[in-house]
């Protein structure tokens, strides 16, 4: 995968984003997106020609069995992976025009990831995990400290801030991961089976939490998974199979404002 040379210095990237997001109707847009893997001698078409528009503030759920390409799609939307063909626009900006560092900056400031296995840094406390992306963004340490405390309180873990992941339950770890995804104030949260590794009750709590963040903060959520409960809170549900979309319907959530 080759990256285009820097088209603009980093400091103008923010301004460009702001301009694009004002003029763009969709917060995320994918055009004819394809991703092909080489698995040994076999060529795997993980994503084949996906077209997708996500509205600002939307709670979108993409359902699919494992191997349907939904995780790959999520990685493509979040600038974690590069497509073989097609384009992704995040807040109106064409990711294919960005260089390696600028893509890292998109992950840092524009999107937040939440994973099935939490993916917390095992050596850092809950507080430290949330401060990490703030430190990547060169936020002054006192500001970072305060912000991490606020976020932990917001996800209901104010008392557990000094515990390392191994001392936290699965639900608590996922809350920390959600708080970490919010650290640099992105407008988009991409969640990959966020309830996949939790028991029924805890999973339901996490779904409630992210729905609440979606409602109160106006955050855009793209959640992939196969938990049927997700569809009850979603604004829109897309079904995915063998790397392509096979159906789309309105979710059980309230209508988008």
């Amino acid at each position: 995968m080759t990256h285009p040379q820097p088209t603009q210095p980093e400091e103008t990237l923010t301004a460009l984003f702001d301009y694009q997001s004002r003029t763009s109707k969709y917060i995320i847009e994918a055009k004819n997106l394809c991703k092909t893997y080489q698995m040994g001698p076999v060529e795997v078409n993980a994503v084949r020609g996906v077209n997708l528009q996500v509205h600002p503030g939307e709670f979108l759920v993409i359902l699919g069995v494992s191997g349907s390409g939904k995780s790959t799609l999520l990685h493509l939307l979040g600038a974690l992976d590069q497509p073989t063909a097609g384009k992704v626009f995040v807040e109106g900006l064409d990711l294919s025009t960005l260089n390696h560092n600028q893509l890292a900056d998109v992950r840092l400031r524009r999107v937040g990831f939440v994973f099935q296995f939490f993916n917390l840094m095992p050596q850092l406390t809950a507080q430290g995990n949330i401060e990490l992306p703030l430190k990547f963004a060169d936020v002054p340490s006192t500001t970072a400290h305060g912000r991490a405390r606020d976020l932990l309180t917001r996800v209901g873990l104010g008392e557990r801030r000094d515990h390392v992941p191994s001392e936290l339950s699965g639900g608590e770890q996922q809350r920390v991961a959600i708080a970490r995804a919010l650290a640099n104030n992105p407008r988009i949260i991409l969640a990959d089976e966020p309830t996949g590794n939790l028991d029924t009750k805890t999973g339901a709590e996490i779904i409630t939490l992210i729905r609440q963040l979606n409602k109160t903060q106006g955050l855009t959520f793209v959640v992939v998974g196969h938990d049927a409960r997700l569809t009850t809170v979603a604004d829109r549900v897309i079904e995915m199979q063998d790397g392509g979309f096979i159906g789309e319907r309105a979710g059980g959530g309230q209508e988008r404002v």
Binding site: L80, A104, L108, G128, L132, F136
Partner: protein, 420 residues
Amino acid sequence: MKFRNILGLSFTNMRRRKTRTILTTLGIVVGIMAVVSISSLSGGFEGQITQQLEQGLDTDILTVIPGGGSFFGGSGLSSFQINDTLLIQNITGVISTLGISQTGTTIYNETGGTLDTRIIGVNFTNLETVYGHRLTFSSGDWNQLGSNDSCIVGYLPDPIASTGDNLSAEVLVRVGLNFNYINVSISVGGVLEEAGQSGMLPFDRSIFISIDTYQELFDDSTISTIVVRIEDPDQADAIADEINEAFEDQVLVIVPNFLIDMVSSVFNIMEIFLLAIASIALLVAGISILNIMLVTVMERTREIGIMKSLGAKDRTILSQFLSEAALLGVLGGVIGIIVGLFLAQGMGLMLPALFSGFQGGFGNGDIGFGGSSSFTLVPVLAPETILIAMTFAILVSVIFAIYPARKAAKLDPVKALRYE
């Protein structure tokens, strides 16, 4: 990411695996320990010898010995004639000269005691003009030495004679193929206070007799060394050149700093050689860091994926691993310097016992140097050695971490996140 934050995360990571951190630094510790102990022992040894030489170093004294070319050989004169001193005496800037003949010998006195000593033949008048300022008598004085049949006895902790005594002894001399005992009876004109040595002329434990007596006694008409006292120490090199010219380069003139310079250069060569060996230890340490860092990168693949998914740039990951390596270097360097210093102290106490053969000087033949003072070895560590050792510790760690760190930085985030 700010440097302070990178460093903070490095500390956290190193604390997480204490045993591995210690084991990783072990190579650096050994390497730096070797460097520090070698250079501080060598520094102490050199200082010790230089100091001993300096004790006997008179900046206004040149020593001329027969020979030519180099100190270690070459053709030239084998000895001086008695009048050769005159060739030097005429050179501008020379105060006086002293021709010396000396023999290491054993004196057997009447009570059956023996004494290893040197009998040194000198002209007493010249001895006074050259060394009068530095020699003091515990008994007797220069004025009592007028006659040829008196002698000066050098300092001995346990004096064998005092002024006015007759020193009677059997002296063992080699004549042709035979060893002969000669009965000598000579009056003691003076006994010297402790005076150490000057250049290659030892005062203590020596017996000075007049050159005429010496030549008669040992049937030897030559002199082996000419000591020259000059007015201005800064002129030493210029006068040395003139002396060489006067003897058609068939002599070797030892200027005051000659021996010190020689000892220094010998030690420098030795130290470079030993440090080259020590640097192999550092190289091995670097390779072990390379190895362990590669394993660490593999183990932490998932963490690297997490950091990248959170928006860490490649250079952040790179500096993260490099800073951990630098910290390993600092840790290894500090421990290595401390252990090295203790090692040097311990060896400093043990080595003199091994070298005890050196006590009493490095020989007592025609050319003898080294005093009779006992030999102690105190390691000396120069501040710049600490600085160089630390720099090397950090440099080796960082250089060998570049490859694993780059490997970590270049990881594909999606694959890294999937890594189990």
